[in-house]
């Protein structure tokens, strides 16, 4: 187990190193100049380049970046001149994570319930109802769903706030907006897997042993049907927790997604890099946890 963990750790570090290097190079290859502006003269641009140390050879800039990164310093943003990337991450991540965790819980609970209900009522009204919800959830883009929720519950009915992130009632619409796609995806996966598991011999054995339905569902069906869900959960968790531009913009949530997109638009090299590294780190960790979870949930899977 220890050997596996070490191997996993080394691979993760290597993955992150490759990610940092590739993104560092790609960012520099994007056409356009980060210091250009409507009113920036060549002299002002030169002053800016010197201020940020961009007048040094590229290999040196890369080495300085790596050295600072080892100290945990992601540098200053090019757009938010007085603010470090570390501070931007520290400020924005809690909002994205809070929205992400709630959306994930909503998606997980809702998706498993919906998928299981559909599987147990195959071919009946409830099955079709769950399938329709899943199809709508997968096919309606988040920007349409977000505006729709805002319009119906915020503007017309005035039941919930239109936007911002100030308290529990402010979270309901963005959580639904962000979580519905994942909910739909999980419910479809759950339904398919549950139906598959229902055909298995060990279910028949469990039934013939006289186990209660609840026990069969929880101990035998759910546990086996949930493995593919966990597989998709790794990258989904990383993506959902590190912010989404559309939902954060529609509901004015000061999360990472908004920063990420504006960083790309502004060619804010340090912010793009910082956010990508953070996202990459999250993805690597989430995937590692998923791999470990396989072994815990299904003892047939040996991870080491």
């Amino acid at each position: 187990m220890f050997k596996y963990l070490m191997k996993r750790f080394v691979i993760s570090i290597l993955t992150l190193f490759v990610l940092i290097t590739v993104v560092w190079i790609l960012v520099r290859l994007v056409p356009g100049d980060p210091f250009i502006g409507e009113k920036v003269t060549p002299q002002i641009k030169l002053n800016m380049i010197r201020y940020y140390g961009f007048d040094q050879p590229l290999y040196r800039q890369y080495l300085i970046y790596l050295r600072n990164l080892l100290k945990g310093d992601l540098g200053y943003s090019l757009k938010y001149r007085n603010v470090t990337v570390n501070k931007i991450l520290a400020d924005s991540f809690p909002y994205s994570a809070s929205l992400g965790i709630r959306s994930l819980l909503f998606a997980l609970v809702g998706g498993i319930l919906l998928g299981t209900t559909a599987a147990f009522n195959r071919g009946r009204f409830l099955d079709y109802f769950c399938i329709i919800i899943a199809i709508i959830g997968v096919s309606v883009p988040d920007f349409i769903l977000g505006y729709l929720l805002q319009f119906v519950f915020g503007i017309r009915l005035k039941w919930l706030p239109v936007a911002q992130w100030q308290g529990i009632k402010y979270t309901i619409l963005p959580v639904i907006g962000l979580g519905t796609y994942t909910l739909a995806m999980i419910s479809r996966l759950m339904r398919t897997n549950m139906l598959e598991v229902l055909q298995q011999d060990y279910i028949k054995t469990a039934k013939s042993k006289g186990l209660s339905t609840l026990k069969i569902i929880l101990k035998h069906q759910l546990r086996n049907a949930i493995i593919p869900v966990i597989t998709v959960l790794g990258p989904t968790t990383a993506a959902i927790l590190t912010g989404t531009f559309v939902i954060e913009s529609i509901f004015s949530i000061p999360g990472m997604g908004k920063y990420y997109v504006t960083a790309v638009q502004n060619l804010d090299y340090s912010l793009i890099l910082g956010m990508t590294i953070f996202y990459g780190f999250f993805l690597v960790v989430a995937n590692a946890i998923v791999d470990l979870l396989y072994g815990i949930i299904d003892p047939r899977i040996r991870i080491y």
Partner: protein, 529 residues
């Protein structure tokens, strides 16, 4: 008796309601939104109108420029030398938010900091009018050689490169705000990064700055002119999505909102308008494209544009057609420039006959048989609206038989390509820095840093030079008007539109000023009833 009891209960309830209403109404907080957070609130690093608008309320410069009016600020009075080059300001007794006095040294330090190349300020060009400003910024002279000097704690002397009547109003601009040297040095790079890393001398104090979420301003109890400030505070909420901002206005969360052009039909009866001061035009690659070097070809294109239809199709008739280059509302000598120098150089509708005449001349001069031999690339940004603008203009220009290809790139890439003279035609624009036609016209002098198209006309250069050094205001303005006509006659650019912004405001808010120079929203003397 029973009626009396009921009446008493009813009156008591009414009284409670009134008290509640009064308690609620006691706090006068003005709420509006910004599309993006301020990139910084460091006056010398500020580089956007959002930032200068917020800075206008938490800082105060030598004067306060409000709705085209110059009012005393930190300076209680000032003198201008006979040659118009030296300004001497007497400062009033005023305090920073930490209780220390605001001095002339704070202004001297702030302005030197603006031009110091080590600061890396985007807006250092604002200080090029000050003696040695450009040289200091190029690193050719030390900052001590800059024409700004604190004579004593309360006297500041600013010497200019050349007389500039607009300079006094310009001192109200964010780049010239004071900053306290020891405070800036104490916080280093993180100065102004947060509400507690700032010092304030303006009508409001930044109580809280939740980045990309909101800025909470409260009235500054130490502001020298606090009696004129009616609001208790302001809440500036960051709302990236324009549609969401409108929804928030509808639900009473915001008191002011700009209405996107797509929603204008829905709110046409409720909107008011103001000119942002920005204008849009086509820049020609005169020095790079052999066809566009020809003046008659550029004239032909300029007359082929149906400006009326362009505005209708691209902005729902909101913007104003640009039949000239300088926005007419900018200040003239006594009245507005437009009133003193009216001009409709290009017709609202396309004049295809005239355009074809110019095209014929151009083809002869270029030795071409057919306009189809001319292929031009139309450069613009990758927004949806840019695409629509480009397609409408492409259609209009192609009526002449010229081929036009649209190329969409990112905003930063467009600016880079413009700066590197890599375009045939580019959809561009300009927002004024100070209240004078020169802010638009100085762009096109042959050695101007923003003259990316390479327009080169000796008469134009001479007229601008004359305007810069002329002390007689009427003659100066005449020279600027003559320069504008030369630019249009020579078709150095193709003017298209003046930006007119629709907005909605809570009718309870009175006294808010929206202006095309400096702060976009000025709520220093606004009130809520």
């Amino acid at each position: 008796m029973r009626i009396g009891l009921r009446l008493t209960i009813l009156l008591s309830l009414l009284l409670v309601c009134l008290i509640c209403f009064n308690v609620q109404g006691a706090e006068k907080i003005f709420r509006y939104s910004l599309r993006a957070d301020c990139s910084t609130l460091d006056p010398q690093l500020a580089n956007s109108q959002d930032t200068s608008t917020v800075a206008h309320h938490i800082y105060e410069g030598l004067i306060r420029y409000t709705g085209g009016e110059i009012k005393p600020g930190m300076a209680k009075n000032w003198e201008v030398s006979a040659d118009g080059r030296v300004y001497t300001f007497q400062l009033r007794e005023a305090k920073w938010s930490n209780g220390e006095p605001v001095t002339a040294y704070d202004f001297e330090y702030g302005i030197r900091r603006l031009l110091d190349p080590q600061t890396g300020s985007y807006y250092s060009f604002a200080g090029f009018i000050i003696k040695n400003g450009a040289k200091v910024n190029r690193g050719e002279l030390p900052v001590e050689e800059l024409g700004v000097k604190a004579i004593d704690a309360k006297t500041l002397r600013i010497e200019l490169e050349q007389p500039a009547d607009y300079f006094l109003a310009y001192t109200g601009f964010v780049s010239f705000y004071p900053v306290k040297k020891d405070y800036v040095e104490k916080h280093g790079k993180e100065f102004a990064a947060d509400a507690d890393k700032l010092l304030y001398n303006g009508p409001f104090i930044l109580k809280e700055w939740r980045h990309e979420d909101r800025l909470i301003l409260v009235k500054n109890p130490d502001y020298w002119n606090r009696e004129t400030v009616k609001l208790d505070g302001a809440e500036i909420i960051i709302v990236t999505d324009a549609n969401t901002a409108v929804s928030m206005f509808e639900n009473g969360i915001l008191d002011l909102v700009d209405v996107p052009t797509a929603l204008i039909e829905q709110y046409r009866d409720d909107v008011e308008f103001y000119f942002s001061g920005a204008d849009d035009f086509l820049k020609y690659g005169i020095d790079t494209n052999p066809y566009l070097k020809n003046t008659n070809l550029r004239r032909a294109i300029n007359y082929s544009i149906d400006r009326e239809n362009f505005i209708k199709l691209t902005t729902n008739d909101i913007y104003q057609a640009g039949t000239r280059y300088v926005i007419p509302i900018v200040s003239g000598v006594e009245k507005s420039y437009g009133e003193e120098y009216p001009l409709q150089f290009y017709p609202l509708k396309a004049d295809l006959k005239l355009a074809e005449n110019y095209l014929k001349q151009a083809l002869d001069e270029l030795g071409l048989n057919s306009p189809a031999e001319i292929e031009l690339e139309f450069l613009t940004t990758d927004h949806d609206t840019s695409r629509i603008q480009a397609e409408v203009l492409q259609h209009m220009i192609q009526q002449l038989g010229i081929k036009v290809e649209i190329r969409q790139v990112t905003y930063k890439q467009r600016l880079t390509m413009e700066a590197e003279h890599q375009f045939d035609m580019v959809f561009s624009g300009w927002a004024p820095d100070y209240d004078d036609p020169l802010t638009y016209l100085e762009l096109w002098v042959s050695d101007g840093p923003y003259n990316h198209g390479g327009f080169n006309n000796q008469e134009y250069d001479a007229l601008i030079k004359q305007a810069i050094y002329e002390t007689d205001q009427r003659q100066r303005m005449d020279a600027l008007f003559a320069a504008e006509k030369v630019l249009l006659e020579e078709a150095g650019i193709c003017p298209l539109q003046f930006r007119r912004i629709p907005y909605m405001i809570n009718p309870r808010v009175k006294g808010l000023i929206r202006y095309y120079i400096g702060a976009r929203e000025d709520f220093v003397t606004a009130d809520i009833f």
